[in-house]
């Protein structure tokens, strides 16, 4: 019995060896260069801003509309779009890169990791000057690594404080809080009025890094200090989390914030269980779906006054140079930014534009106005630092512990991760 097993295993191993030697022998490195005139297929991978496959707002539907229009105008270029949800896109793209099957175009949340390995085209190779000139300067600057631009801002969003006007009226609060003291006082009033989560606090894995950053900004802190050094456990940040811990212990927030995702808390806000919560344009559809109408939007309160900045988040589109389709990619990018597509994505998903022209077009939208106003002065994650890619997942997993255990210790561990070489 055992002998047979060994024999089988040996045979299997031999087969593997044969197969793998075949693999390396037949490795043909074909790099199709764009031949003049012939039809070219651009492979594109994009993130899904909608509710997933089959839903009317799915990424597939959106991109099909864009691509159909583009292909009608450019019969020689075909665009194959593969839409992947946000949870999987980074891992799947990493697998593609690892296997040497890079797409021509990638639209996702970060570009910087591809730059060092020289996988990307520079922006001026794939985008016309009139389009890149219209980008918000601050955004475009974040697309640069060592002075050369690689990432093209795709869409953006900003954050503000949403408050439930009915619950505020019930608790006898006239206007949204501006300072942390006011916030705490208001939260106590809401609690007395029977609101189970006076302040919605989502420090769970989904987006703990955003919620934390907004509170850090309120105390003049952040992930890095003014000189660009990591400062996750700065005295300001420790103070911030001590304040939050006080709120949590008094039962004034979402319970166990370190396990709550923003989507859950936004849904609770939509259901009228939460007094106030930090959110963005992308939370508006969730509130609408839950039937909540009477809410207001205000600047996020800080320790001694409302924030004059907010968290800006940008998503990126980039072009890989492996297949050499620069000319075709340029046509597609120019089409995307100058045509109706960029506007359509803002309308469909309540995402904010990244061009001056786009912001002007949207300025009439009452609900989006506070966010549009905040955009030019937004603060960003330190995502250009290569360590951010490693620190960010750690933050998502553990920073919620800072409102439960010792803040200095939890933030100190994160600081250690950031400083480790």
């Amino acid at each position: 019995m055992n002998m047979k097993l060994v024999g089988g295993a040996a045979l299997g191993l031999a087969t593997v060896l044969v197969l793998s030697s075949c693999g390396s022998g037949g490795d043909s490195r074909s790099t199709p260069k764009s031949s003049a005139g012939g039809p070219v297929t651009l492979k594109m991978v994009a993130a899904d801003y909608g509710d997933g496959p089959g839903k009317p707002n799915s990424g597939e539907t959106f991109w099909k509309g864009v691509v159909d229009e583009f292909q009608a105008a450019n019969p020689n270029i075909k665009v194959d779009v593969q839409v992947i949800n946000w949870n999987d896109i980074d891992k799947q793209v990493a697998t593609m890169v690892q296997n040497g099957q890079v797409p021509d175009i990638l639209q996702t949340g970060d570009y910087s990791g591809f730059v060092k390995d020289q996988l990307l085209y520079k922006v001026d190779e794939v985008l016309s000057p009139n389009v890149s000139g219209d980008m918000l300067q601050k955004f475009a600057d974040f697309g640069k690594v060592d002075g050369a631009a690689y990432g093209i801002p795709f869409v953006s969003s900003a954050r503000a404080l949403f408050y439930n006007k009915d619950l505020f009226a019930k608790a006898g609060i006239a206007e949204p809080p501006k300072t942390w003291d006011e916030l705490k006082a208001d939260a106590e009033k809401l609690k007395k009025a029977g609101v189970s989560q006076p302040d919605g606090l989502a420090l769970g894995q989904e987006e703990a890094q955003a919620e934390s950053f907004l509170w850090m900004l309120g105390n003049g802190g952040g992930y890095k200090d003014a000189s660009g050094k990591w400062a996750i456990n700065s005295p300001q940040n420790v103070e911030t989390f001590n304040y939050l811990k006080g709120l949590v212990n008094a039962g004034l927030t979402t319970p166990n914030p370190g396990t709550k995702d923003r989507k859950t808390v936004w849904e609770d806000f939509g259901a009228g269980k939460v007094g106030m919560v930090n959110g963005g344009p992308m939370s508006i559809p969730i509130f609408d779906a839950a039937g909540l109408k009477n809410y207001g939007v205000a600047p996020i309160p800080g320790k001694s006054g409302p924030l004059d900045t907010t968290l800006g988040v940008m998503d990126w589109i980039m072009a890989f140079n492996k297949n050499g389709h620069a000319a075709e990619i340029k046509k597609f990018f120019d089409f995307f930014y100058t045509g109706s597509a960029a506007q359509k994505i803002s309308d469909t998903y309540k995402l904010l534009p990244v061009t001056n022209g786009g912001i002007q077009k949207l300025s009439g939208d009452e609900k989006l106005k506070p966010f549009l106003d905040a955009l030019p002065n937004a603060s960003f994650y330190p995502f250009q630092d290569p360590k951010w890619a490693e620190v960010n997942p750690q933050i998502k997993q553990t920073i919620g512990g800072a409102v439960k255990d010792d803040p200095a210790k939890v933030l100190g561990e994160l600081q250690k991760t950031a400083e480790a070489s």
């Binding site: 299997g12 191993l13 593997v16 690892q98 039962g251 319970p255 166990n256 750690q394 997993q397 561990e413």
Partner: protein, 294 residues
């Protein structure tokens, strides 16, 4: 000619062997290889990395807690599953009205997707609207909905029992059916003989049923050990391993690491792989020791 005939079986087992090589052995080789490479988060292989991935993994602050928790998780889930399944199999082996329906009903948790089951339990435990909390609220076990006391998944001490409960819930059907099949193979005359000798019911169960059930029991428990150790969806859907890493097992850690360091994640996979082999070996040893006693 004779030699050719000797090779004939190869034609029959060949395809299966190739298949196993492709989908089992090759990934294992790749996994081990990746664990010694430096791979950026974006999938770019940046060359060899020696044992640095392992050093980093073993240096993680939460690593030892997570490994210990993984073992406790496996032992707790498998032990509870087997105990409950032994009782259920015995029950379902009796003749009683509605047995057919009851047997069918037991399949439900097995037939449903594990991820779906986990998500449904997460909803039932929702602090604001979850039905389990509404019942606890009506019974006066908690003072209010939405507070920390209604949020059992928010704290490791209350979340772990729920995670184990759900894992047992989805493992029991398979185990019960495996044991039920085992019970069906025990011939009736053995029991008759025991009865003739005046053995008590407990004695009959201990000295006849259990030893004769041993093959089925071993297989069922072994499959459970491997399944539960690699179990990902229950914990991921219900807690993401949070707060912090306090409900994470090594499989969860492997997945989280994949987002920041693929090489380290591969190292975790290799350690996992080794753990499964060790757990299996220990288990087989223990169950053989049982045989000598019986």
């Amino acid at each position: 000619m004779k030699r050719l005939r000797a090779l004939e079986p190869l034609a029959w087992v060949g395809p299966a062997v190739v298949l196993i090589a492709l989908v089992v052995l090759w990934p294992v080789v790749e996994m081990i290889r990746s664990s010694f490479l430096k791979i950026s988060r974006f999938g770019v292989v940046q060359g060899g990395n020696g044992v640095a991935n392992y050093e980093k993994l073993f240096g993680e602050k939460d690593f030892s807690d997570i490994m210990l928790r993984s073992v406790i998780w496996v032992v707790a889930v498998v032990a509870l599953t087997v105990l409950i399944s032994l009782a259920l199999a015995q029950l379902f082996n009796q003749r009683f009205p509605g047995r057919k329906v009851a047997r069918w009903a037991l399949i439900a948790p097995w037939a449903a997707s594990v991820l779906m089951t986990a998500i449904i339990f997460k909803w039932m435990l929702d602090p604001e609207v979850g039905v389990i909390n509404q019942i606890r609220f009506k019974l006066g076990l908690i003072d209010a909905m939405g507070g920390a006391s209604a949020d059992q998944l928010g704290d490791a001490s209350t979340a772990m029992p729920w995670l184990i409960f759900v894992a047992v819930f989805v493992s029991v059907p398979f185990t019960t059916y495996a044991l039920l099949a085992g019970l069906a193979t025990i011939p009736g005359d053995v029991y008759e003989a025991a009865k003739m000798d005046g053995a008590t019911r407990l004695r009959t169960y201990w000295s006849i049923t259990l030893p004769l059930l041993r093959p089925a029991l071993t297989v069922a428990a072994l499959i459970n050990v491997m399944n539960v150790f690699n179990s990902f969806p229950i914990i991921w859907a219900m807690t993401h391993g949070q707060p912090g890493y306090s409900t994470a097992t090594s499989t969860i850690l492997m997945f989280i690491l994949k987002g920041s360091n693929i090489g380290e994640s591969a190292a975790m996979s290799v350690v996992n792989f080794g753990m499964v082999i060790i757990l299996t070996a220990i288990f087989l040893k223990v169950s053989r020791w049982n045989k000598e006693v019986a």
